[in-house]
């Protein structure tokens, strides 16, 4: 914007600045006019409350950064004065099979018990596809495993059984051998 100071600038080169200046001024007046209307007609009535909320939040953030991070829930007392172990220790009765299960491990138990979930489903898929591949003429389009060589399929099962942490992996391995 120092073009005006430069004596040798032509009026023509100042045109873009003028145009931009006019556009900018026009936009500013647009916004000012709208805000003026909003303020004057009382449409902006909650400004104080909103600012109060912002102030309280700002204060809260200051307070939380300066105070220490809350203790881990290991030995924290709740409002009733109780402590809680990392894994819930209450014994529950499974609605599906009737066995007693520790609360903290209820969900994984129920998952297997009801046949839901990824691991349980995979188990089912595997046994059915293995049955299919041995019963067919050898050209069945099994999507999961290639029925070319048993070695391949065994390897895959072995890989998966090493990932899963429960005993069903071992069972799958057994199934493969039997079917083969």
């Amino acid at each position: 914007m120092s073009a005006s100071e430069n004596g040798s600038s032509s009026p023509r080169s100042q045109l873009p600045f003028h145009v931009f200046g006019d556009l900018l001024d026009s936009i500013i007046v647009d916004v000012a006019s709208e805000c003026h209307r909003i303020a004057r007609l009382g449409l902006d009535r909650n400004l104080e409350e909103e600012e109060e909320e912002l102030r309280l939040s700002a204060q809260a953030r200051v307070a939380s950064t300066s105070s220490s991070i809350e203790a881990n829930s290991k030995n924290v007392l709740d409002i009733f004065g109780q402590t809680h172990p990392a894994i819930a220790s209450e014994i529950l009765e499974c609605m599906n099979c009737g066995r007693p299960v520790v609360a903290g491990r209820f969900a994984p138990h129920l998952e297997r018990c009801m046949g839901k979930g990824r691991k349980a489903r995979q188990k089912a898929t595997r046994s059915t596809t293995m049955a299919q591949s041995t019963n067919s003429n050898g050209s069945s389009p099994v999507s999961v495993f290639t029925p070319y060589s048993d070695a391949n399929s065994i390897k895959r099962v072995a890989n998966d059984s090493s990932c899963s942490s429960n005993s069903s992996g071992v069972e799958e391995f057994k199934v493969t051998f039997e079917e083969a």
Binding site: D22, D25, S26, V29, D30, V31, S33, E34, C35, R37, I38, R40, L41, G42, L43, D44, R45, N46, L47, E49, E50, E51, E53, L54, R55, L56, S57, A58, Q59, A60, R61, V62, A63, S64, S73, V76, D78, I79, F80, G81, Q82, H84, A88, E90, L92, M95, N96, A103, G104, R105, F106, A107, P108, L110, E111, M114, K116, G117, K119, R121
Partner: protein, 636 residues
């Protein structure tokens, strides 16, 4: 007409006291004949209000109720010059002026004597800089530099030709006038091509016309009291659990939930729902009695009642059991095992105990309860937000307007919603700038306040949600008027507010392209008290026509809506950690105390902890409830 509002009772006393008392006396759990409830409902839905008005005691509002005034524009008194202009026959010139109002497709009004006129200052011929004023009396146009000299007696009022705003040159201020605004609105209306709008359902229309009645507190008569006492047994409340170890009063109905194996997403949502005001009342008032429900479904399925078979999965029944357990006063954490079992009985085959998204679970759960309750009251009005308790509590209506940028044709659709999912606003905070008069704050607070312009806030997210969104040139939509695909402007607004508003901050981004998801940890500021009126359809439409006085806004000036726009927070679900291993906790508010529910462990926390937390889902309840006369004697 009885336009009476009653204060929503304290959040821990919103059920009739004859039913459940506060925990200083034994809490009784009772089984009540269902027809009794029908009588309760009939009681509060009579069309004629006779007898004394049994108000909720002390209609005290928490804050000064300047904000209960409907947010309609209030015209300030005119300045002397404007008043003089009117009295000297100014309205005649206004009518002439109306012919000169040219309206652009998107509603912007200009003053041009003929289309294509380029106004110039009469004194200096400039095209005026930012503003040109046309004198209303003699139509002479001047730039701001020369306008004051023209402002002699009778020529003080001018109009900004580019913005159609009145200006008083003597007062050097923009002024406002009803007649002028009406003229502009009429010009806008005649310029816009007809718009398409799906009408709100007849049910909703009838809904709005219903008369408001006074709230009457339910109380039993002696005969009913006898039935309660005979049919119920007290639940022992351990004396030591009335006060916490620190001596403060224990909250009512707050109990830990055991984590059953990565089920914190489930626990966090359950905690919020267990304390959702009207939902809580519904279950605690025995509106879904699990024994009756089980009996009914057994009878439907046939077979002997004595036969032992797997209980049919009804999530509402499990919720009923959970409410009873959580509000029993037992401090040991509760295991929502049966709930999980019922959940999985009908869940898709992809259900597993792995970590899930709390919001997804919330939506699915509402859907399931709708299905369960829906069965029950099939004979009653279906749809229209009255079909089940979750719809009554959570459902609102969103309005979506798509405007063609070329011709201005607007197409409007209405959709129900159970919650509002918000994209994060990246700190372009509203027209309202941060306060500079923060005299009492220390340096640190000022630091955070000055960061306001970069901070995300719930209001900012809502502004972004209801702001006009220019759809890209690759997203052209078909315009009925132009009969071609044109670039459009889309704008959302809220037509009907729910009784409980749940806001979901979209922190988890899923990119299908990269097949990867990430979490946005950015802090989002949220208020404890929330006024939703700027996001209502009436407000949005008004702002679209330039906030003119008496903008018709499709004739929807529903006073009820505007009065019902105040909310206060009662629960916050937070997520900490990342996508793979994260943890959900819930903050609950009761009686102005905040409690953190971290699975089985419930602790008392300060307000600051909650304000500073990383919110994922926010639950707000309406501060005031209005009771309307029912169309039917029995309404759920």
């Amino acid at each position: 007409m009885n336009n009476f509002l009653c204060t929503y009772p304290e959040l821990n006393r919103d059920i009739p006291t004859s039913w459940h008392r506060q925990h200083d006396s034994p809490i009784t759990e009772s089984r009540v004949p269902i027809d009794l409830w029908q009588r309760v409902k009939a009681f509060s839905s009579v069309d004629t209000v006779d007898g004394p008005d049994l108000l909720m005691a002390s209609v005290s509002t928490r804050r000064a109720s300047s904000s209960t005034v409907a947010p309609n524009p209030r015209l300030p008194p005119p300045c002397t010059h404007l008043a003089a202009y009117h009295s000297s026959g100014g309205s005649r010139s206004l009518r002439l002026l109306q012919r000169c109002l040219r309206v652009s497709p998107l509603g912007r009004a200009e003053v041009r004597r003929h289309p294509g006129e380029v106004p110039r200052c009469a004194s200096c011929s400039s095209v005026g800089g930012p503003r040109l004023y046309a004198c209303l009396t003699c139509a002479a146009v001047h730039c701001p530099a020369h306008a004051p000299s023209h402002a002699d007696a009778g020529h003080e009022i001018a109009v900004d030709v580019d913005r159609a705003e009145l200006f008083c040159c003597a007062c050097h201020d923009q002024v406002y006038d009803r007649d002028f605004d009406t003229a502009v609105v009429l010009a806008q209306a005649s310029a816009a091509p007809g718009s398409a709008r799906t009408e709100p359902t007849a049910a909703e229309e009838g809904d709005r016309k219903r008369r408001r009645v006074d709230y009457r507190l339910f109380d039993t008569d002696p005969k009913e009291r006898q039935i309660f006492l005979r049919g119920s047994s007290p639940i022992f409340v351990h004396e030591q659990n009335v006060l916490s170890p620190t001596g403060s009063r224990l909250p009512w109905g707050v109990r830990g939930l055991n984590n059953l194996g990565n089920t914190c997403f489930l626990n966090s949502v359950l905690q919020a729902l267990l304390h959702t005001p009207l939902l809580r009342s519904h279950f605690l008032n025995d509106r879904h009695n699990r024994f009756v429900c089980q009996q009914r479904s057994r009878r439907k399925k046939g077979g002997n009642p004595g036969e032992k078979k797997h209980a049919t999965s009804c999530l509402a029944c499990d919720m009923d059991a959970m409410y009873s357990a959580v509000f029993s006063g037992n401090p040991r954490p509760y295991s929502p095992a049966k709930f999980l079992y019922s959940w999985w009985q009908h869940a898709s085959h992809l259900a597993s105990y792995e970590q899930q998204d709390a919001h997804d679970f919330f939506i699915t759960m509402l859907d399931r309860i709708h299905e369960d309750e829906h069965e029950w009251c099939k004979s009653l009005i279906e749809g229209g937000g009255d079909c089940c308790i979750v719809h009554k509590v959570f459902s609102g209506t969103l309005r979506s307007d798509v405007t063609c940028t070329i011709c201005g044709y607007t197409s409007t659709t209405y959709d129900p919603c159970m919650d509002i999912s918000l994209d994060l606003d990246y700190g372009k905070n509203s027209k309202k700038s941060a306060a500079s008069n923060s005299h009492a704050c220390n340096i640190d607070t000022n630091f955070f306040l000055s960061q306001n312009n970069g901070m995300s806030t719930l209001l900012g997210c809502l502004e972004r949600f209801t702001g006009p969104e220019k759809l890209g040139s690759d997203q052209k939509l078909f315009c009925e008027h132009c009969q071609v695909k044109q670039e459009s402007l889309k704008q959302m607004s809220i037509t009907k507010l729910p009784l409980v508003a749940c806001f979901h901050i979209k922190r988890f981004e899923h990119s299908t392209l990269k097949n990867m998801s990430k979490k946005i940890d950015r802090y989002v500021q949220f208020p404890f008290y929330l006024d939703m009126s700027p996001y209502l359809s009436s407000s949005i439409l008004r702002s679209r026509c330039g906030n003119r006085l008496f903008c018709s806004a499709d004739g929807e000036s529903d006073v009820d809506l505007e009065l019902a726009s105040e909310f206060e927070i009662f629960a916050v679900i937070t997520h900490s950690g990342n996508l793979e291993s994260g943890h959900y906790t819930t903050f609950l508010r009761q009686n102005n105390h905040w409690y953190k529910c971290d699975d089985s462990c419930v602790t008392h926390v300060s307000e600051n902890t909650v304000r500073a937390s990383q919110a994922y889902m926010l639950f707000y309840g309406q501060r005031f409830l209005h009771y309307k006369a029912s169309r039917h004697a029995i309404a759920f």
